[in-house]
């Protein structure tokens, strides 16, 4: 995988990257009431980085991620488990949802979905990056 990719791809990627990232986060945030959610959002964000990788190479994509995909997986799982444990502190069973502002969708399910989002990004990117290493 070299960086001698086409100018069209590189220019397109530069424009699309922020849009895709925003779209991914948008999907995550609206997921509770409209089509979207952590899983779909995570896939879109992962796709953005994969596009970046195709256009600018593996190292650039890794740099653009700012952290290692392993950390995303770890923190995602911790968030998901943590959002389950949180209600236990209030004497509710594991994974019972707690709502702080149901109208805006702010509560533990949002945290849980964020966890799913991070895990999905991490998983896709670990696989892609590992396979692309050579």
């Amino acid at each position: 995988m070299t960086t001698t990719t086409s100018l069209i791809l590189r220019t397109g990627a530069r424009v699309l990257m922020p849009l895709l990232l925003l779209f991914g986060v948008f999907l995550l945030l609206r997921g509770h009431n409209a089509p979207g959610g952590g899983f779909a959002g995570g896939l879109v964000v992962a796709a953005a980085y994969i596009l970046h990788f195709f256009a600018f190479g593996l190292d650039a994509a890794r740099r653009a991620l700012l952290t290692r995909p392993e950390r995303l997986i770890g923190s995602g799982l911790l968030l998901a488990v943590g959002s389950g444990i949180l209600p236990a502190l209030f004497g509710r069973p594991f994974l019972t949802s707690l709502w702080f502002d149901p109208a805006r969708g702010i509560g533990t399910p949002m945290l849980f979905d964020l966890g799913v989002f991070l895990v999905v990004i991490g998983v896709v990117l670990i696989m892609t990056f590992t396979l692309a290493e050579e």
């Binding site: 779909a40 896939l43 796709a47 895990v119 991490g122 998983v123 892609t128 590992t130």
Partner: protein, 757 residues
């Protein structure tokens, strides 16, 4: 209050972890908390003596009837005092022993985790709660035995201890279940309070065997004793704390605890007395054969545990009293001897008894502590060990002479081992590298405290009368005459004690030739364990390649065929469904269907892997379109993304295996085609069946109705994923994460192999 205090060591774990490696002085301050707990439990013992057992509970898993319920009576408080008191000394000692070494924080943190678990074990009311703490002590013990995890033998010993005591733990769980089944009660307070006896109930023999399996493995009774000497790979403070003073006594505690409702039958008495007596002899025998200071002490611990077990089996008032006095005496002298052994190793670098001598000038305080402890262990008058031994002989007088003779022999051997461990390193010509600096007080004070405690309690026996008497009363369920005194006049027991002392002196004088002549050196129980382990390994080595061919295609074939056959059989037995009445296919829907079919055909006929993958992607997009048409935009979106990313990942994979072009023989392809067509056909028929018999879906309606009021979300798919079925999703993301790390590991390995080969 009580539940919080019992669990308080857990709360100190982060502090211990953080302070442990930072400063010796500050880490030593952590000992203040267990010291305070000791005081608290001691005071509680006084109030229990007046007003009876205390119960307290904190709601926990109420839905399965398990709360954090605790029950404090004389017996549990006696253990709690020992656990917290020696814990305080060990924390102090450990902070100095590890200094600011890298593992110090981890050590202190695990120590506090153990302390909390052990306190929970001895104070738990509910049998299942007791089981949980029981396993937690086993687990923390595993972590501490394998503390120096870079050493293979430490890891092996840790696993061995975990397997042996874990086996017993399962026994305890099964026993708890059976007890609850047969009595309807799982709380010790109600089992004790109702004065039940299981002996008349169902399952009694099974309960006894399972309970004793737990007690015998935990307390290292023959033939399970071998894990304890091997556990000496743990840092010495751990050996002193877990593997002599506290955790290994959990089995004794369990037997004492269960005696009121499970005891007093020939089965119970016979098993405990017999196994205890054998363990007592075996341990003492092996102790004098060892040259490694810690292994010697470990075998003598095995022997002492056997002795206490035997006394609980004998079960008379005197015998139970003897067991408890012995327990206290043993905790003091063995703890002190272990701490001195640790100091010796810390300062001279060796713990081989033949390489140590004449160190009394170099480390006078340690020598004093060791000498006092050895005297108590040998049973010299004025020491608590003497009281214990007098009670031991007295309680065995009425029993068959073999038990008494065994006890005398074991006591003599134990006393000898005590002198070898506590006296011989410090007398005679100097051997072993003496330390040049003064031994730090943190390493000697805890040992001195324990050693002097043994002397103090011997001189003022009243100090142990109350706890031992209360605890015996708790075991026997009646008030016990607990008066202890050093001098009973000229009795046969005194003669036996003196004879034992003479024997100790004689054996100690000839210790070197005794060590050489000891035979047999091993009973072979560890070899049996190793052989079992090897056999299991061999069995899985035989079975694994037969069950796991490591060919994804054959796994898939098995899975799909199985599912296909099951579906097919159901269809045949249930009768084929009718064709759906209305087949109203819109043009755009037909397009999606054509896309799916075309993609599949193209994938099958593809000449290269890349085009096969891309064709499958086309099929996938067709499926995504179908989702979109039928009102599942979420699924469609996810499907589009997944198809795209799958194609990317496949391309990356094929990039690695470029020479992956050859096709399988036609027989394989025919087999694959048959299975695929059958499976796909069955699924299609099932879908038609579902479509033709549209019954209202109760679940779907439930989610649709409840999504907004219960989960505040309008997107049912997402509400199901993150709320109603969040546990499933959690499982799924865990699987995803595991798979990702699996890919990473596999690629890493194959890359390494390519580099090497």
């Amino acid at each position: 209050m009580l539940p919080l205090l019992v669990l308080s060591p857990y709360l100190l774990i982060p502090a211990a972890f953080w302070l442990g490696g930072r400063s010796v002085r500050v880490a030593g301050l952590l000992a203040l908390w267990p010291a305070a707990l000791t005081l608290y439990f001691g005071l509680m013992l006084r109030s229990v003596a007046v007003s009876g057992p205390i119960e307290a509970s904190l709601s926990w898993a109420a839905s399965i009837g398990i709360d954090l319920s605790f029950y404090a009576d004389g017996l549990s408080l006696l253990f709690a005092v020992v656990v917290a008191g020696i814990g305080a000394l060990i924390v102090l000692y450990g902070s100095r022993y590890f200094g600011s070494q890298p593992g110090a924080g981890r050590f202190q943190a695990t120590l506090f985790a153990f302390m909390g678990s052990m306190l929970g074990l001895v104070l738990a009311d509910n049998l299942f709660l007791l089981f949980i703490f029981w396993e937690l002590t086993g687990f923390t013990s595993f972590l501490l035995i394998g503390f120096e995890h870079e050493r293979p033998e430490a890891r092996a010993s840790a696993v061995q201890a975990l397997v042996v005591t874990g086996l017993g733990g399962l026994g305890l769980l099964a026993a708890a279940v059976l007890i609850e089944q047969s009595t309807g009660a799982a709380a010790l307070s109600s089992l004790l309070g109702l004065g039940l006896n299981l002996a008349n109930g169902e399952f009694y023999p099974a309960i006894v065997v399972l309970l004793l399996l737990a007690a015998f493995t935990k307390s290292a009774q023959t033939p399970f004793h071998f894990w304890l000497p091997n556990a000496m790979t743990a840092p010495t403070p751990v050996s002193a704390y877990l593997h002599s003073a506290t955790m290994v006594k959990a089995g004794i505690y369990l037997v004492a605890r269960a005696t009121p409702f499970a005891g007093a039958t020939p089965l119970w008495t016979g098993l405990i007395t017999g196994v205890g007596a054998i363990t007592m002899i075996v341990g003492a025998w092996r102790a004098v054969a060892e040259t490694d200071l810690k292994r010697m002490l470990a075998y003598s611990t095995v022997s002492a545990l056997g002795l206490m077990m035997m006394l609980l089996g004998v079960g008379t008032e005197k015998a139970v009293m003897a067991a408890l006095v012995y327990l206290f005496a043993h905790a003091c002298y063995k703890g002190a001897l272990f701490l001195v052994a640790g100091t010796l190793e810390h300062e001279t670098g060796t713990r081989d008894i033949t390489g140590l001598g004449g160190l009394r000038h170099a480390m006078p305080a340690a020598a004093l502590a060791a000498a006092l402890a050895a005297c108590s262990m040998a049973g010299l008058p004025l020491f608590l060990g003497f009281l214990g031994k007098e009670l031991l002989y007295e309680s065995l007088l009425a029993w068959p002479a073999t038990l008494l003779i065994g006890a005398i022999a074991a006591s003599a051997l134990l006393g000898t081992a005590g002198l070898i461990a506590g006296v011989s390193p410090f007398v005679g010509p100097p051997r072993g590298g003496a330390p040049e600096h003064r031994v730090p007080a943190g390493l000697t004070v805890p040992a001195l405290v324990l050693a002097f405690l043994g002397l103090f309690a011997g001189i003022v026996p009243g100090s142990v009368e109350l706890p031992a008497g209360l605890a015996s009363g708790g075991i026997l369920r009646r008030p016990v005459d607990a008066s202890l005194s050093m001098w009973h006049g000229f009795t046969p027991v005194l003669g036996l004690s003196m004879a034992t002392l003479a024997l100790v002196a004689l054996l100690y004088a000839y210790r070197d030739s005794l060590r050489r002549r000891i035979w047999p050196r091993s009973l072979g129980s560890e070899r049996l364990y190793t052989a079992t382990e090897r056999g299991l390994d061999a069995l899985s080595a035989w079975a694994a390649p037969r069950l796991q061919s490591a060919s994804l295609r054959s796994y898939l074939l098995v899975l799909v065929t199985t599912a296909g056959v099951l579906i097919f059989a159901t269809l045949v037995f249930e009768g084929l469904p009718g064709w759906p009445a209305v087949m109203d296919i819109q043009p755009h829907e037909a397009c999606a269907a054509i896309l799916i079919v075309a993609g599949a055909i193209s994938a099958v006929r593809a000449k290269s892997s890349i085009s096969a993958v891309l064709s499958l992607g086309v099929s996938g997009y067709g499926v995504a379109l179908t989702y979109l048409f039928f009102g599942a935009p979420d699924l469609a979106m996810t499907q589009f993304s997944v198809e795209t990313l799958t194609a990317v990942i496949f391309v990356l994979v094929f990039y690695h295996f470029r020479d992956f072009g050859s096709l399988s023989p036609w027989t394989d392809r025919l087999r694959g085609a048959t299975v695929s067509v059958l499976f796909g056909g069955s699924i299609a028929v099932v879908l038609l069946f579902v479509g033709a018999n549209l019954t209202p879906f109760r679940l779907a309606n439930y989610f649709a109705e409840m999504g907004l009021p219960m989960a505040h979300g309008r997107n049912i798919v997402n509400v199901i994923l993150v709320d109603f079925r969040a546990l499933d999703t959690m499982g799924e993301i865990t699987v995803l994460a595991t798979a990702a790390f699996g890919v990473r590991a596999l690629m890493h390995i194959s890359r390494k192999e390519r580099k090497n080969g």
